[in-house]
Each structure stands twice: as C-alpha cells, then as structure tokens.
C-alpha cells in the first residue's frame, strides 16, 4: 500500500458511503469504521477518530439546509444537547480505556440494531401527545412548513425529561463508537417525544454535530485522529452526501434500503467476530 493508493481508495469509498448514506438516511460513520478496520486493518480507535470528524462534516452540511428551511426545532435541539454532549464526553473517555474487542462487539451489535430500525421505518408516529410541563415552560412546541400539505403544521412536544435521558444514551454511543447515532436520536424524538418525523430527523442532524464535537475534541487531543487518514474521509463523505442529497428527491429506493440492511447485517457479523476472536 502506498500513500497515494490509500488516499484515493479511501476517498472513493467515502464518496460512496456519503452518497448511500444520504439516500437511505444515515451518516457515514457506520460505513467508515468497518472499512478502516476490516479492509485496511487499522486499530479501531483510529477508525473511530477518523469517523467522528466526518460525522461533524456531514451534520454541518445537512443541518445548515434544514435550519434555513425552518424544519429544525432549535429550542428542543438545544435542550436535548444537554444530554447528548455529557453522554458523548463520557463515551469518548470510556473508549480511551476500553479494550478494542469491546468496541468491535458494541459496534457490531449497534449495526444489527440499526438494520432492524431501518426495516421498521415509515410508520406513523404516536398521535396522542400527553401534556408536558417541561415542554410548556421551555416553550419547546413549534410548527413547520409541510411541502406536501402546503401549509404550516403545528406540533406539541412531550416527555421532555425522558427524551433528555435517552439523549444521554445516544451521546454515549456516539462518543464510544464514533457514529452520529441518529438511529437513536430520531426515534427518541419521533416516538417518545411526539415530534413529527421530518422535524425529528432535521433536529437530530443539528444535534449530531454538537454531540460529535464533544467527543471529537477528546479524540483529537488524545492523538486518536490521524490527519492523513481522516482528511480523505471527511472530504469524500461530504462530496458523496452532497451528490446523494440531489438524487434524494427524485427516487424512493426501497430496494436500496433492503440491500443496505443486508450489507449492515453481513458487516455486523464480521465486526462481532473480530470482537470475539481477535
């Protein structure tokens, strides 16, 4: 392997990861970490370090667009970031002392969980939203403009403290594994707190950046983010995601989703095996 060969290879892989990620609605971390460890044989901590900065890049790009469209609930995001940042900091510190085997195992299990979550997508969210004193006091309720309905849709937010607790967990997973953990954040808002799905995914996108920044700062200072490895990945993922988001409105790739779940399961088995038999 030569520096040029590696840079071009991992750049191409990252463009693909960003493109697919944008199409099926996940970030690139889920692809980058297995690629770096299983294909290139890097230590998992390096892979996580490279992945976490690319997570910030993807989030910033997507969140900028959603925020401008007023799809993001800025107040709810800020409130829930209390939980995600604390969790992410804990996760990053924990990853520094845990043996790599545990990270492989956890990552494999998380991939399996993500696969199931993707298959169960597209349900309606809970219609009944119980009253919440917290959400009232913090004025978390809001509205968004629905393209299809062509009007402003108001919504109420519920179970704010429970949502905050779930976000600590999402942050912990993000800091530990170098992923955005949107796969936890979106259901926490959509199913538990009663936010519309579109608002949940836009708000999750914004929160992912701050969550990842909290752990990335620790990985960076610890020397776990190798500039030469991280650079082509961050550039590739952003370019791939930008192309992917252009295709997004044109097609609903249901078969692509199924294919992606199959890949997730296969990769997950590889990661778990690597955790069990190093």
């Amino acid at each position: 392997m030569t520096p040029l060969g590696f840079a071009l290879g991992i750049f191409g892989l990252s463009v693909g990861a960003g493109f697919l990620g944008a199409l099926v609605g996940i970030g690139g971390g889920i692809v980058v970490v297995p690629a770096l460890t299983l294909i290139y044989g890097f230590p998992i901590r390096y892979a996580i370090g490279a992945s976490i900065v690319s997570v910030i890049a993807t989030s910033s790009g997507a969140a900028a667009a959603y925020v401008r469209e007023r799809m993001t609930n800025l107040r709810t995001a800020m409130f829930l970031e209390l939980g995600t940042t604390v969790g992410a900091m804990g996760g990053a510190l924990l990853a520094g002392v845990l043996h790599g085997r545990w990270l492989f195992l956890l990552f494999g299990l998380m991939l399996l969980g993500s696969g199931f979550a993707m298959l169960r997508r597209l349900r309606d969210h809970a219609e009944h939203v119980p009253p919440s004193r917290w959400a009232d006091a913090l004025r978390l309720h809001s509205s968004y403009h629905d393209e299809q309905l062509g009007r402003e849709v108001p919504y109420r937010v519920a179970r704010a403290p429970f949502g905050l607790l779930l976000m600590v967990l999402a942050g912990l997973l993000s800091g530990l594994l170098g992923i955005g953990s949107g796969v936890l954040k979106v259901p926490a808002m959509d199913l538990a707190m009663g936010l519309p799905l579109k608002v949940s995914s836009a708000t999750s996108n914004l929160m992912i950046g701050v969550t990842a920044a909290a752990s990335a700062a620790i990985y960076f200072g610890r020397g776990d983010i190798n500039p030469f490895i991280a650079a082509p990945i961050a550039l590739g993922i952003v370019i791939g995601a930008a192309i992917g988001s252009r295709f997004l409105s044109r097609a609903r790739h249901q078969w692509l989703r199924v294919l992606f779940v199959v890949v997730l399961v296969v990769v997950s088995v590889q990661m778990i095996r690597k955790g069990l038999v190093p």
Partner: protein, 140 residues
C-alpha cells in the same frame, strides 16, 4: 416582544434571524475547514512527491504510534514549517469548533432575547464542550 421575535420560536413562514445566523455559520465553518484540510493534503504530498508511492512512507504515516501534531502549540509550529499534517490538523480542529461556535452564537441570541432559561441551558452545553476541549488541549 411578540412571539415571532423570539429566537427559534414559531413565527412567520420565512426563517428568523437565529435560523439564518446558525445556517450561515455552519456552512462557512464547513467550507473553511474543508478548504484547509484540502490545502494540507496537497502540501503533505507536494513536499516530496516520491513519498506518494512509497510503502515505507505509508506505514510511517499510519503506524499505531505515528507522530503527528495534535496540540495547539505543535500545530502552530507545524503550520509555520509548512507541514501538511499540521495544516490538516488545523482544518480538522476548525471542523470540530464549528458546532461549538454555533452554540456560542445561540447563547448570544438567547441573551439578546432575555430568555433566561435558555441562556442557562446553552451556557451549560457550551461549558461541557469547552471542558472536553480543555481536557486534552495541552497534550502533544
């Protein structure tokens, strides 16, 4: 003050001030940091084009104990030398700081709106972020 003036509150159909500020900041931060990373990558390779196809160089760059700057003083010194890895590290640092600056700017907006609860919430999040930055900033 009407409800529409509050940052992030439900209001008119167009984006409010907070939305525009946050969106512009994220976009600018991303563009500046990725441009810096690209320059660093070019510098890294342009220094010694022979390195491009050297297996030994690849192993040195990606070794488990590879040396690269990851503290502020080392990055600053590296940039002064024109070291590509230091420039990439600076770009990645800016990328990490982008969401932090988003929180800082939200704090200013909430303070201007005299939204005491959210000033407290935002200041706490900013505090956690600064803590994680300072925890290891001295290293390397």
């Amino acid at each position: 003050m009407s409800a529409a003036d509050r940052p992030g509150a439900r209001g008119a159909d167009r984006p409010g001030e907070m939305e525009i500020v946050v969106s512009t900041l994220l976009r600018t931060g991303l563009a500046v940091s990725l441009a810096t990373v690209t320059i660093g990558l070019v510098l890294l390779f342009a220094r010694d084009p022979h390195d491009l196809l050297s297996t030994a160089r690849f192993l040195a760059l990606t070794a488990r104990d590879a040396k690269f700057p990851h503290g502020v003083p080392a990055i600053a010194a590296g940039i002064a030398r024109g070291d590509g890895e230091a420039v990439i590290a600076a770009g990645l640092g800016l990328l990490i700081l982008t969401p932090v600056m988003r929180v800082a700017i939200s704090l200013v907006e909430f303070a201007r709106a005299r939204d005491r609860a959210f000033v407290l919430i935002t200041a706490t999040v900013l505090g956690v972020l600064l803590l994680s930055l300072l925890l290891r900033a001295g290293g390397g």
